[in-house]
Every structure is written in C-alpha cells, then in structure tokens.
Symmetry: C2
Subunit: 181 residues, 2 copies
DNA sequence: TGTTTTTTGTAGCAGTTGCTACATTTTATA
DNA sequence: TATAAAATGTAGCAACTGCTACAAAAAACA
C-alpha cells in the first residue's frame, strides 16, 4: 500500500471514530479535519468532496457494525429472549453510538437521498440478516417473519432510548410476552 | 386579539405548514421567512430568536397532531387490528409529514437537547395515550403494556417507511399474528 | 542526479448562518 | 391631535459553509 493510501485509510478510521462519538450534526469540513488531525484542504484532497467523504466514512462505520455483529454471534434464542438481549445491547456504550448515528441517518435517507439511503438500507438489511440467523424458530417459515418483527421492535427501542425512555421498551417487552403466553 | 398577536399567529400557522412539508432540514431564517411571506427580520421580531421560533412552530405542529388523533377516535380494536390500521395510517399523506418531522426530531432530542427533547416527549406520550385509549383488551392490566408494544412497533414502521421499505412492516405484522395465534 | 508526481500549506472566494443597529412608517393611546 | 409604542425596511456584521487557485515542499521515479 502506497503512502497516500495509508494516510487516507488512517484518516478514514479517525473520521469513523469521530462520527460515532459526535454524530453527523456539526460534521463540517474544518471541525472534522481538526478532529482527525489534518486540514479541510487535505480532506478534500483525499476524498474529493464532502459527499464522498461521508459515503466512505459511513461505509466504514457500517462495516464495523457488521464486524461487531459477526463477533457477537451467539446460540439461537427464541424471540422474546432475543428481544430482551437486544434491548440491553442497544444501550450498551459500545453499541449506542452506532444506533445514534443510525437515527441521524434515517431522516437523511428519507426520500431516497443519496448516499444516505443506500447506506441506511445496507445497515437495515444487515441487522435483519443477523437477527434471522440468531432466531430460534419452530418452523423455518417463521424465520423471516419473526426477524422482521424483532427488527421492528428493536428499531422502536432505539427511538425510545434516544428519548431517554426506559419504561416503554420494558412495558412493550412485557406486553409481548403476555400475548405470546 | 391585537394586530401583532394576530400576525404572529398567522405566521405561526404558515411556519407549521412549511415545517410539515419541508422538514427541519434547511429551515434557516431567510428561506423560512420567504416561505411564509415575511422577512427574517420580522421572524425575529415576533419570536425573539430561532430557538423560540422552532419551539412555537413545533408545539403548534404537535397540537395539530393531537387534534387529528382526537378527531380520528374510533371504536376499540384488538392489538393486531389496530396495528394493521396504524401501519396504513402512518403512510397516509395527511399523517406522513408528521411522522417525517418526528423522525427529524429524534436525533435532535437525543441527549436531552432543548427544546426538542421536551417536544418529542410530549408527542410520544400523546401517541401512547391515544393508543391505550383505542386498544381493546381482555383485562385492564394489559392496556398499558400492549399500548407500549403497539407504539414501539409503530415507531419501527415509521422508520421503515422512511427507508421506503414496505416489506419489513408487512412481515412483522404477519409475524406478530403468527405468534399470537 | 534530474524530473515528474504526490502531498501539503496559505489564502481566499462566494454563499449562508443567526442576529443587530439604525431609521422609518404605521398604529395605538392620552 | 400630540405622543408614545409597535411594526417594518435596509444594511450589514462576524462566523461559518464547501471548495478552489496558487505555490512550495517532499517523495517517487528515470
């Protein structure tokens, strides 16, 4: 790998770090550059323009998320146990930054706005796949349907976590177990 | 009502309209002023500063939502029927603008940022209350729990609608009915 | 070593941001 | 009608936005 590529990759890692800790809001070139130890001039040199910079950074972020999920592979769980586990995971300090970024991504992705729409879709699909793989089901026909349900509920949990609301997810979880009893 | 108050109220209505159709993104003073037929100068005259302007406008938006929900009061429905209904409602052209604004509000509300946190909380509580009132339950103890579950799932549906994804909500709905059968 | 790329610095441009100072017109009040 | 108050227009400021022109230093290559 040439020196230029190495430098670009290094900046990219730091950009991903910074987006995870500080979000997209206020992610303009000069503050971003300062945070990763370079100048706006150099960011544009390595990434062309801001859109490509964000595309590359967010792509790396979602790759990291995928890696995390792969590493966290665990034995199959029935839906209620999986939901309980995920409800906690979503608030984990290692995971929450991803969820916050995801939350910021959504309004930008609404309406198909590039590049956010594409990135958001990939993340959504990844989560769905991981959940489907991890779910323990009675019959295989159920797998995709229950994965969709699980993902939907987890997305809701992410929203309530952003509001600082722990009660609703807890109640929702209780409500689900109630109906499935 | 004095002339000033009347004018302020009129501008407020138009600001709410504009936020519903165009969102918070790009809602800076000059474009906003042009959209509602006045100048940035006058917006600041009537609202003091931008934060107060947004607080007032978003408060009006959430009041409109409450009014809509009150008007849409309907006979009690069991959770799966209510979810099916709400899944459609969320995509209704009259409702979707509120959901999109809600989606934009969430990342701003994350971390307790004023005034967005307060407004988002009120909206969340309103939705939850409406759902609880509309749910048909076997026993009253179930009401709050199932309302929380319903709200959580609907929030998830709002997210997928932003992604242009109809499949996941449909599958989730099927998954839920499956588990409750 | 000499030459051509690549990398980096400095400076700045044109547009936007929230907001303000100052002046004028219009309205309400006495 | 005279005076105070509220409403509105014009202009601009300082900070920030993404991005670019120009030039020097450093590295790669011949």
């Amino acid at each position: 790998m040439k020196k230029g590529e190495r430098r670009r990759a290094e900046l990219l890692e730091r950009l991903a770090d910074h987006l995870l800790t500080h979000g997209l809001q206020g992610a303009s070139l000069r503050p971003l550059a300062a945070a990763v130890g370079t100048s706006d001039r150099m960011l544009l040199h390595y990434f062309g323009d801001k859109e490509e910079l964000l595309t590359a950074s967010l792509t790396l972020v979602s790759q990291r998320l995928i890696t995390m999920l792969d590493a966290a592979r665990l034995e199959p769980l029935p839906i209620d146990a999986l939901l309980t586990m995920l409800a906690g995971m979503v608030k984990d300090p290692h995971v929450r930054p991803y969820m916050r970024l995801w939350l910021e991504l959504l309004p930008l992705a609404a309406g198909g706005q590039a590049p956010f729409h594409t990135i958001a879709q990939r993340i959504s699909a990844t989560l769905r796949g991981w959940i489907a793989d991890t779910l323990q089901v009675d019959t295989e026909e159920q797998r995709e349907l229950l994965a969709a349900l699980t993902l939907t509920i987890i997305e809701g949990f992410v929203m309530f976590d952003a509001l600082g609301d722990d009660e609703v997810p807890a109640a929702a979880l209780a409500g689900l177990k109630l109906k499935m009893a």
